[in-house]
């Protein structure tokens, strides 16, 4: 079993937000940074990091969802959303300790990183001009 997520080299990150632009352009067809699945965090102008779904082992978002709309895709180990079931209640947002889930207010559905399934690599990694982003793959102990 593998856990896969976006990892940021904080020393290389300049806070240019090109990952956010690239994500929302690819996923939404427009530049809407609130709907980017990856976000730049600025504690101070120089203390930068990004957050996207960490594929954490405990998956509080899945457990919180009252309608069973979120599940873990067995093949990719990323979150899969059943849009028909999602009512936009936001419990998963509340449950995620990393703040990695966003809400599309216009459609009342959530948005979360799926590592750009079907592409050869996630768009944020592809576009990052500083090569600060990478795909981190680690083994998860079976039965976890």
């Amino acid at each position: 079993m593998e856990r896969r997520h976006i990892l940021c080299d904080r020393n290389k990150c300049t806070g240019c937000m090109i990952c956010e632009f690239a994500c929302s352009a690819f996923k939404e067809g427009r530049f809407d940074l609130d709907l980017s699945r990856i976000r730049v965090l600025r504690a101070t102008p120089t203390m930068l990091d990004v957050v996207a779904c960490f594929s954490c082992a405990s998956r509080p978002c899945v457990k919180e969802c009252p309608r069973g709309a979120l599940r873990v895709d067995e093949a990719t180990q990323t979150l899969a959303l059943d849009k028909a079931r999602c009512a936009g209640c936001g419990w998963c947002l509340e449950g995620c300790p990393f703040g990695a889930i966003g809400m599309d207010e216009s459609t009342k559905t959530i948005v979360v990183c799926d590592l750009c399934q079907g592409q050869d690599q996630p768009q944020c990694i592809r576009f990052c001009p500083q090569q600060a982003l990478s795909l981190h793959v680690s083994a998860v102990a079976p039965g976890h």
Partner: protein, 606 residues
């Protein structure tokens, strides 16, 4: 789909009314955005001959058409108003999160007219607009004001452009602080201060759509990959390279242009590049270059007091004041952020005062016992603070060197290093005839990378300047422009992909030319005359101390200016003929641009 919203926000501070207005499609096509569109909107609502520090001098903040998209280094906006320092039009661009927020509000520009009775700040919250009381913010410094407004709105996404205590006191070298760098020259902060407008806060969360997003993604990836290959070390620029004006390529003025440092300042560059003080290099939104060098101000390694140092501020607060010690320069720059001072003008004013002090025109009585010799750390830092507070000698210097020299007299105008009332920035023009022309007569500030081709003709200067105006209209960062392989072609393509409006490189230049001519025509309306296009006396009389003995030749400069006017299609007196306006499609503006119909000239330049 287009990245334009085709509307601007009109704010009348006198009545407190705000209104969304349509921008004619033709203006967008002709002036693009940023400085161009800002100038056109300025013309629409300005009264000729108005006092620059009165209610009738509007301020226009206009976004670039690419801001909010992923086009490289495009998150910018322009501030256009008439400068209280020169009396002429000044349009400057700056970049960062404020510009990005403005793009998300659904307005392409904000036009602010009138003046409030008591301090207010403008809050543009997506489509909603509020004018809020700013009495508690009066006298607050730049960073504090931004933090207070953010606290009040309860959202860290709110971005703040504000004027500082200096601007509130109408100091002519006050700036608007809207990001990590203080980019707005010419006293724009004082214009806000005169309107009793403390700040313009923006929260923009609306999406920006473009005409062809897939092609734009592909083009951006292509451009950014090219940059990565050319930029040093794969990640941004090396500190010192982007930081110093023309390192190794031009003479850096020192001690108020009494000396020059050939080849930039190697020792200063080394200190700038030392890793101890440099915390990190950060980028504006959508910029792959990342040229903002963030320095720790104090020696305390745990301190979070930091400031972004750029080449112009470094040159003005450093060598120009005889200062080569980085911590002192950083401290002075930090004070510019707090008080809202243009660091270039502040540095030049201190340098002028230092020369007066060394020549005995100013005594320690005038400076309250402060040692104002060149290179005095206390002198630089304390005088910068006094300019910000307008106390003691600072009140005189806050008016800028031209007015300070006029007040002091005794020949101090000889070393007041200003053009048309605005303090000079960057390289020494005595070895660079092209730069001398651009500084004396130019409409856009020359880039500071020190390039100067001696074989360049007046026509080249016009072309370069038109391209600069086009770049400032698209609000693509001047620091990043040189990383384009073919700027006109690539920028025009980005524009087309974003707006869906066809634009070729020739039309892009044309738009820049149109903007430059419009700026000139407004300047003429406000009383500009040919003798204003000239350099300070020192540059003609005192040769460079580097052994080359170079001075600016009056004859050569006159010839260059003649050639420049000819190249522009202007009269020998530098006036824009009606045919020129007609050729640029601005025939309809002739009536508006006619001479100042309101009696006396609005200002005295000389």
């Amino acid at each position: 789909m287009s990245s334009y919203n085709s509307k601007y926000l009109a704010v009348d501070l006198t009545s407190g009314k705000t209104e969304a207005r349509e921008i004619p499609g033709r203006w967008l096509r002709d002036y693009l955005g940023g400085v161009g569109l800002g100038t056109r909107l300025y013309l629409e609502c300005a009264r000729p001959g108005a006092d620059t520090l009165g209610p009738d001098n509007p301020v226009v903040m206009a976004r670039g058409p690419l801001s909010g998209t992923m086009a490289p280094a495009s998150a910018g906006h322009a501030v256009v108003t008439r400068s209280p320092a020169t009396g002429l039009l000044c349009g400057s661009v700056s970049f960062g999160l404020w510009s990005l927020a403005l793009a998300g509000t659904g307005y392409d520009a904000v036009v602010i007219t009138g003046a409030a009775a008591s301090p207010v700040y403008l809050f543009i919250d997506d489509g909603r607009v509020h004018l809020r009381r700013a009495d508690p913010l009066a006298g607050q410094g730049g960073p504090q004001t931004a933090a207070a407004i953010r606290r009040e709105s309860g959202d860290s996404r709110v971005q703040v452009a504000c004027t500082g205590p200096a601007g509130e006191s109408l100091a002519r070298l006050a700036t608007i602080r809207d990001g990590h760098r203080l980019m707005h020259r010419g006293g724009a902060g004082a214009v806000l201060g005169a309107k009793k407008l403390k700040a313009v806060a923006v929260r923009g969360t609306r999406p920006v759509s473009v005409a062809d997003i897939d092609a734009m993604r592909k083009a951006v990836l292509d451009l950014n990959t090219g940059w990565r290959q050319t930029a040093a070390g794969g990640g941004g620029l090396e500190p010192g390279e982007c930081l110093l004006p023309g390192s190794g390529r031009c003479h850096l003025p020192a001690r108020n242009y009494q000396q020059a440092i050939p080849g930039g300042a190697a020792s200063l560059a080394a200190e700038c590049a030392a890793k101890g003080r440099l915390i990190k290099t950060i980028a504006c939104p959508a910029c792959p270059v990342a040229c903002q060098h963030v320095y720790r101000i104090t020696d305390d390694p745990h301190s979070d007091e930091q400031v972004v140092l750029d080449n112009e501020a470094l040159a003005a607060l450093g060598p120009l004041c005889g200062m080569f010690h980085l911590p002192v320069i950083l401290k002075a720059l930090d004070l510019c952020h707090v008080y809202g001072l243009d660091p270039v003008s502040a540095g030049a004013s201190v340098a002028w005062a230092m020369e007066c002090f060394e020549r005995g025109l100013l005594t320690s009585q005038d400076t309250n016992g402060l040692d104002l010799s060149f290179g005095s750390a206390d002198g630089l830092v304390e005088t910068t603070r006094r300019i910000g507070q307008l106390s003691g000698i600072g009140a005189v210097l806050a008016e800028g060197v031209l007015r300070a020299a006029n007040g002091l007299g005794q020949g101090s105008g000889e070393w007041a290093m200003q053009v048309k009332g605005l303090e000079m920035a960057g390289c020494d023009p005595r070895t660079q005839p092209g730069l001398a022309l651009r500084l004396a007569a130019g409409l856009r500030p020359p880039t500071l990378d020190g390039r100067d081709d001696p074989s360049a003709t007046a026509a080249d200067a016009c072309r370069e300047e038109d391209l600069a105006a086009a770049g400032d209209s698209l609000a693509i960062c001047p620091n990043a422009r040189r990383y384009f392989r073919d700027f006109p072609a690539e920028a025009a393509r980005m524009y087309t992909l974003a707006t869906g409006m066809p634009l070729n490189p020739a039309e892009l230049r044309r738009a820049g030319e149109r903007t430059n001519n419009l700026i000139k025509a407004i300047d003429i309306r406000e009383g500009w005359q040919r003798p204003d296009d000239w350099l300070p006396p020192r540059l003609f009389r005192e040769p460079l101390d580097t052994g080359e003995g170079a001075v600016v030749s009056e004859k050569d400069l006159t010839a260059a200016i003649d050639g420049y006017y000819r190249g522009r299609g202007w009269s020998a007196e530098g006036l824009v003929p009606g045919e020129k306006l007609a050729a640029l499609g601005m025939d309809d503006l002739r009536e508006m641009l006619k001479g100042n119909r309101h009696g006396a000239p609005p200002h005295t330049l000389r």
